[in-house]
Symmetry: none
Subunit: 216 residues, 4 copies
């Protein structure tokens, strides 16, 4: 039974926190490289811990991946909120949100984990709810300003992010640069003059997105 503490964790606890940090960072790296088939032993190796330490914290490989997913979703939520606050123009906020998401190693690895078809846990559901609200606000504001195409939905934003963030075989600075290059193409449009036309299909809504990303 540990006495409550008011100060920051110290000693053993501090080391455990540090290790957790290292494990998550390593997991991101290795999942980014190997996809879902990332060997757990490799993650442990890069984190500088034994496999068993990793398994004590995350009882299964899936638990580890879900933790990354939650962390990514929470980071996206924060970035969406911050972008809306920092930028007077909602469209600029949207652009900043994309740029931030593609540049951050935390949010950037979201895609790799989708491939695993992990089931939605309670924690995931909660994180998703928050993310959903933040993107709703962001997109609503952009629509309100009249700068965003009327048919774009908040779910579009996540799928576009997914696509822009498509895993390149290598993930280094150049990969991020390229991601940003295509973000720019998307934002600006490939053609010089653009005119709105019929969308080829109905936009996805949150329900479809959930069904798409979560195993039954």
């Amino acid at each position: 039974m540990r006495a409550d503490r008011t100060g920051p964790p110290r000693g053993r606890q501090k080391e455990a926190d540090r290790n957790d940090e290292l494990v998550l960072r390593a997991a991101r790296e290795v999942f980014a490289e190997f996809g879902w088939n990332a060997p757990v032993s490799e993650i442990a190796r890069r984190a500088g811990v034994g496999v068993a330490s990793l398994y004590r914290r995350y009882p299964t490989k899936e638990d580890l991946a879900q933790a990354l997913r939650v962390e990514s979703m929470n980071a996206l939520t924060s970035q969406a909120r911050i972008a809306l606050i920092d930028h007077p123009s909602p469209m600029a906020a949207l652009a900043a949100f994309f740029r931030g998401a593609l540049s951050s190693p935390i949010t950037g690895s979201l895609l790799a984990l989708m491939g695993g078809r992990l089931p939605a846990t309670e924690e995931i559901d909660a994180a998703e709810e928050h993310l959903r609200r933040a993107l709703d606000d962001l997109v609503d504001a952009a629509h309100g300003s009249g700068a965003l195409r009327p048919d774009v939905t908040p779910a579009d934003i996540l799928l576009l992010l997914n696509h822009l963030n498509a895993r390149l075989p290598t993930s280094n600075e150049r990969a991020t640069e390229l991601h940003l290059r295509y973000l720019d193409l998307v934002l600006t449009g490939l053609q010089n003059p653009s005119k709105p036309d019929d969308r080829p299909t109905t936009p996805p809504d949150w329900a479809e997105l959930r069904a798409l990303w979560n195993a039954p």
Copy 2:
């Protein structure tokens, strides 16, 4: 020792071709479902042949994957050539090329195989050379018509295709619809009015693309 033939394949040869066809189709399916870790035995099962027959034709799993890659690249090449012939406007040809590539199951699975980081073989090099030329022609024509942003390179086209084609957790008709939706977004531009600005990074060239997609 097989005698040269002038007519179409018949009898055993015809059956062998048919089997090869089945194997490639099955391989595409299974790679799409399982990614690089697709079990070879599952491919053989779906093709309705024994594993050993598959291994006779493709000595390693990598050889099989490379065959798919070559097939995909050749299909892309054809589609680029045909698009250029079919459409008077080069920009329309480019759009048609994208649409075709995203809609075809053969070219659509190109991405999944990139994750394996396969080395460039001679056959790959040859196929790539042809694809490169076709895309050069396509992009040159588009530039010539003044409809394409001046800084877009042929390599951009492939990378954009890669991104647009990013694997969604499920691959069904709806996935293709979504892919086309974002193609449209890319082609039209997310914002209504667009003005050219500085690109955030220099465009990739063929050499970089090769280095990116091929293992050393």
Copy 3:
């Protein structure tokens, strides 16, 4: 597609059958030594096959154990039937059944597998049904002859067999001798003069036995 054959299996098939035999024998040995924690690799080693060959035939360790269980139960069934046929006196048949069961390496290992608490499969259910009927017949006959204590049930027979067969740390010829020694004690009675008295508890029936030996 293999053509139907009327003769005995030959060649590859014969070898596969032989291997299956070897695997089951080895599994019996190793389960007897290590209990449920018998390493699968050790079973494969003793059978002289690779682990994967074993796993091809029995997809999980549990499947292998269940196969042993079924084999044991079927052997017991045969032994009960044969004993009843071979011996004019039902009580002699019962004694012969016990002796045979304790002496045979196949039926002798039934106990070790119970410790694993394996679930009842359809195959197990069927085998159990047959065994149950055979023991019902055996015990009914013994009761009919008046030689068996009236309160003894067929389920008692299996539980007594279980106890008589209790795993000794070593399993060799001497172990079997000892098992038979205590069988004799059980059959004859520990005391010279015996008089029936109240049973300390109600006898088990088949339902209880099933609940006892099968996981829910």
Copy 4:
């Protein structure tokens, strides 16, 4: 350096004794459930202590198991002595000894530990010596009274106990009831009329029993 004490343990020492008690009880439970593969961490958890505390007291898992063995043997010894004192008839004493041994959770778990094939330590040897003498006395008395079959040895008693105590997949009150049921069958004899006949094998002696239960 602990000072000698004459009074009962108090304070810290009392608490340590209490913890030791809890650990042994938990160990019994967990060994009964999991057999030799009982996780040490689970034992510690049920005892409400940290693993390291357990390891301070018992340096290896084997040491812990041996402690249980010694405790069981000592309990058996006491029960044999007490039975002989409490019952005027030696045969009644023997029956009472069996009943007590099968009913007590301490002696009842002896068997589970045999499966581990633990080596004989000095402590084990000493405990065994005492147990042996007690059983010799018990059996000698029974033989003296003429009520026990002449060929029954003290080693038989332990082996019979082992068999009667064979682990059923579940260990609850009903399991004990069944154990006692078969004890009764053994004591009374399965057949109504009994006549002595030739034993099928020579009886075991202490040396054989030791060789059987102890690893080399």
